[in-house]
């Protein structure tokens, strides 16, 4: 009897999650638009000009938020993937696959804005700074995850293989980060330091936080939309998706 209940539960979860995600998307989209609007306004017009770095520093309002997101999303992705692996729940594996592109995008934006910031600050587009290097490796990890999942045809195998890779990656991230830092201090000394960060003004901190919240809402909205697509694709043979199609037509 108990196996029946599990049966039903597993089967219905994508079906119940799909409309739920659909209802949540507009809210998160609206929240993202508002917070990012406020955040950008504050970054450009409210936050004061930095006495040392001039106007160029304003890019950190995007840069720091995206860098935080890029790391955080990887952990969240690994957590979903691990959940899917242990409990064999399909929606969590789909969430992991849906998170990966967004995480990779944030990592890329963090690298991009880092380079843009580096040019006026350090005089070069790229420095082998510990944080930049770790971020680059993080991008490789995301790309590896996406490449592995897209190389596997069977969705169940793709989910589980991706989950193992994500978990191995999460275990490795602290080691990578630590080793890169060790490597960096040995090679460069502390030549690159960010001026004025410790004495950051409250306004700047607030702006940064609001921007990060904005990125959060954006990420949730986009991931939910993507997971809805994945659900439809994977569940296209089930009755509930067929019924949905019927309603649309």
């Amino acid at each position: 009897m108990s196996s029946r209940i599990v049966n039903w539960f597993k089967f219905s979860s994508p079906a119940t999650f799909y409309p739920l995600a659909g209802r949540l998307i507009p809210w998160f989209t609206a929240a993202a638009v508002i917070t990012l609007g406020v955040g950008l306004y504050m970054s450009f017009f409210v936050a004061p000009t930095d006495y040392k770095q001039g106007e160029g520093y304003r890019i950190i309002f995007v840069h720091v938020g995206t860098a935080w997101m890029s790391m955080f999303i990887y952990v969240v992705m690994a957590a979903w993937a691990g959940l899917g692996l242990v409990f064999n729940t399909r929606v969590s594996a789909m969430m992991a696959s849906a998170l990966a592109p967004t995480g990779a995008m944030f990592t890329f934006v963090a690298l991009w804005t880092g380079a843009l910031w580096g040019k006026p600050m350090w005089g070069t587009w790229w420095v082998w700074d510990a944080r930049l290097t770790s971020e680059l490796i993080l991008l490789f990890l995301y790309l590896g995850f996406i490449a592995l999942q897209s190389a596997i045809d069977d969705p169940r195998r793709a989910d589980r293989a991706g989950a193992i890779l994500a978990i191995v990656g999460v275990v490795n991230i602290p080691i990578i980060y630590y080793s890169v830092q060790w490597w960096n201090t040995l090679h460069q000394g502390a030549s690159v330091t960010v001026s004025g960060q410790s004495s950051m003004e409250t306004v700047m901190l607030w702006t940064m936080l609001i921007m990060t919240f904005g990125f959060w809402f954006y990420a949730i909205a986009v991931v939910l939309a993507r997971v809805r697509c994945i659900i439809l694709e994977r569940e296209r043979d089930t009755t509930w998706v067929r019924e949905l199609e019927g309603e649309v037509q």
Partner: protein, 211 residues
């Protein structure tokens, strides 16, 4: 005893079978048949524990095989489409390595005997590379003689075998059943073993269920 309860397996996008239930007790042979692509191999791999079914459960003496893991694999011997023998090892080496991994201790003499009985006398010391398809199949099947598994899962064991070997293999399976073993068999060949009073299970078109 082996019990399969409400099993469902999906390969890629295709649902091969669903709500499949049957059981197999001591001394019984289950003959599995169905057209190509009906899911016979998938079912066998699921019962081995190589493949995780999407729904349902497989129980061995009342316990789910997922939880038994190594206790269960000790009881099972699977001969699949692939022989699982190494081309660069001799027949004797192959048999001995596989037995060690199976946790069965066989002496060199027992290994020679098993190979002799399976009809590989004179070929024991050659790399299996130079053997014919049928002979390679025999090397794989020699494990049946050197193993203490209670459940044999044989996926098309008769392919590439000559008439005498088919006879001999049937005899080996009968002896196994007489000792209280269980066997699970697919074949597209007409053999005596499946003609008599045996449990049958058809997959795919034309029904699904135990007779």
């Amino acid at each position: 005893m082996l019990e399969v309860v409400d099993l469902e397996c999906v390969r890629g996008d295709r649902r091969l079978f669903t709500n499949l239930s049957f059981s197999l007790s001591k001394g019984e042979l289950l003959y599995l048949y169905g057209h190509n692509g009906s899911g016979k191999t998938t079912l066998m791999r699921a019962i081995c524990g190589l493949l995780q079914p999407t729904e349902g459960e497989i129980r061995w003496d009342g316990e789910p095989i997922r939880e038994l893991s190594e206790e269960y694999t000790r009881e099972v011997l699977y001969i699949g489409h692939k022989n699982g023998i190494k081309d660069d090892l001799t027949a004797l080496e192959n048999l001995r390595v596989l037995s060690t991994l199976d946790g069965v201790h066989i002496t060199e003499e027992q290994a020679w005997d098993a190979l002799k009985r399976i009809g590989l006398h004179g070929f024991e010391d050659l790399p299996t590379q130079v053997l014919s398809q049928g002979q390679k199949r025999r090397v794989a099947l020699a494990r049946l003689l050197a193993h203490q598994a209670r459940l044999w899962i044989l996926d098309e064991p008769f392919t590439a075998l000559d008439k005498a070997a088919v006879e001999m293999l049937q005899q080996v399976i009968r002896e196994h059943l007489d000792r209280g073993g269980m066997a699970f068999l697919t074949t597209h060949q007409e053999v005596e073993l499946t003609a008599g009073q045996v449990k049958q299970l058809q997959l795919g078109k034309g029904g699904q269920g135990c007779v």
